[in-house]
């Protein structure tokens, strides 16, 4: 069996204006050997999930700095589950209080990272998660 890179779709939902953080993370994932499809600013949960479907992403990453993380992560997760991507990782970054992380974890969202976290640990987390969660193909 040949080997191939992990594929990640990264987007920034909502209207807040800059994507420097998301780009830094995207670049660090590329350096860690991943194929990153970068969607850019002002995405909707629907557009992010639609892209993740066509790209057959192993993981979806959201950058939410506006404080609206509860709404966005929850909505994206719902859409992923509804549209057959329930077996893929949803992760991302923002300023996320522990309580919110717990609520989101209960909804099936993965670990979320803050501005102080080393992008290298994000790559490591995605890699470990994807390796230990093979896709569940319909039989």
């Amino acid at each position: 069996m040949s080997e191939y890179p992990i594929k990640v779709v990264i987007g920034k939902p909502g209207l807040d204006g800059h994507d420097r953080g998301a780009k830094v993370v995207a670049r660090s994932l590329v350096e860690a050997g991943m194929e990153v499809v970068y969607l850019g600013l002002r995405q909707t949960p629907e557009s992010i999930v639609a892209a993740a479907i066509d790209e057959d992403a192993d993981a979806v990453g959201l950058s939410v700095l506006s404080g609206a993380h509860m709404t966005h992560f929850k909505r994206v997760r719902e859409l992923m589950v509804d549209q057959g991507l329930g077996d893929r990782l949803l992760t991302g970054g923002g300023i996320i209080p522990t309580k919110d992380q717990e609520t989101l974890t209960a909804l099936g969202v993965g670990k979320l990272f803050g501005p102080g976290d080393d992008p290298g640990t994000i790559a490591e987390y995605i890699r470990d998660w994807v390796r230990t969660h093979p896709r569940m193909e319909a039989k």
């Binding site: 080997e3 590329v30 050997g33 194929e35 970068y38 892209a51 479907i53 790209e55 193909e137 319909a138």
Partner: protein, 336 residues
């Protein structure tokens, strides 16, 4: 494939289950996405997938869009895809971006300019990293195009950065090539590789909202007025602005005109025939090589021979001749 035995490599395979195939035929994008991943990641599965796709491919027109970075290839691909969809086509879009030869990773930003395509059921867009295509196209590109065509798309756009190997690769797997330039390419036209300028079927000067457009159009017309001994008639040269939505309709007209000519003249079928010849050739090469390698301890022998050759400065061809003379073809292939 040592290149991808890298930190983020995976090796889970995808089973081509009846359920997956059924959802593919029912038009489920998730299934199409999985099948594309399969041909991309598992070269050994291509024969199996290709057999399944038989009868569903061969009619689509495959259009290469190439040009220097930043000229607006993705923006324009998006506009063309919508234009074609509005003329009752179903459109596949493949954007190929380079993989890092060091990490195996790739940054694929084409979707930033293709927002309008998302959620449009008439269009299927996929980003591909060039992987072991070494600066050119991913070797999986034609197979990905096959899957997308079998999914029901009759126009397939393939965007590649038009430098080096990629511009040659794109010729091999498309029916026509659109070369995209921009006003600031002005002086660069003289230095553009002869190949692509001669082979492009349509030339676009995008960003015609920027100053310098007329100068580029003039130099392009000049280049083509010089003619070439073996060049077909000069290609149409079209100015477009994605920003002002100008020239796009005209460009789509030209593409559709060229597509119609390709089909009516029989050239489309001829190109397809050539691609199949290449597919057969590389399929045989691959299978024979695999058998040759499998049946003996030949890989180690080759290593040893190479070491000797380096030492005594001899050519490797005596070994090649000897190796080939040992491969006996038991019979000639049957005519189909």
């Amino acid at each position: 494939m040592a290149q991808f035995q890298k930190t983020s490599a995976l090796s889970h395979g995808i089973d081509l289950t009846p359920a997956l195939w059924k959802s593919f035929l029912a038009g489920q994008r998730q299934a199409c996405a999985r099948l594309i991943t399969k041909v991309e990641n598992e070269p050994d599965s291509i024969a199996e997938v290709r057999e399944k796709l038989a009868g569903r491919i061969g009619k689509a027109v495959r259009i290469g869009l190439t040009g220097p970075p930043g000229v607006g290839k993705s923006t324009l691909s998006s506009a063309i895809a919508l234009g074609l969809a509005n003329r009752d086509h179903r459109v596949g879009v493949i954007a190929v971006d380079p993989s890092s030869p060091f990490t195996g990773g790739a940054f694929m930003g084409d979707r930033i300019r293709m927002e309008n395509l998302v959620g449009d059921s008439r269009i299927y867009m996929r980003s591909l990293a060039s992987r072991e295509g070494h600066g050119g196209l991913s070797p999986a590109t034609p197979h990905v195009a096959d899957v997308i065509e079998a999914f029901g798309m009759d126009r397939i756009l393939i965007e590649t950065v038009g430098v080096g190997q990629a511009e040659l690769d794109v010729l091999d797997c498309t029916d026509m090539v659109v070369l995209i330039l921009q006003p600031s390419t002005g002086d660069a036209i003289q230095s553009l590789k002869a190949g692509i300028i001669e082979i492009a079927d349509i030339i676009v000067v995008n960003k015609s909202d920027l100053p310098g457009t007329d100068t580029v159009l003039q130099s392009l017309r000049f280049v083509y007025s010089l003619g070439g001994s073996n060049r077909r008639p000069a290609p149409p040269i079209i100015a477009t602005s994605c920003q002002q939505n100008e020239g796009i309709d005209k460009l789509v007209d030209e593409i559709e005109g060229a597509a119609a000519t390709l089909i009516e003249s029989g050239r489309h079928e001829e190109l397809r025939r050539r691609r199949i010849v290449n597919e057969i050739r590389s399929g045989i090469q691959r299978r024979l090589w695999e058998r040759y390698i499998a049946e003996s301890d030949v890989e180690r022998t080759i290593e040893r021979v190479a070491r000797d050759l380096v030492q005594n400065g001899e050519s490797p061809y005596a070994f090649v001749r000897d190796a080939c003379s040992r491969i006996e073809l038991k019979s000639r292939p049957k005519e189909a």
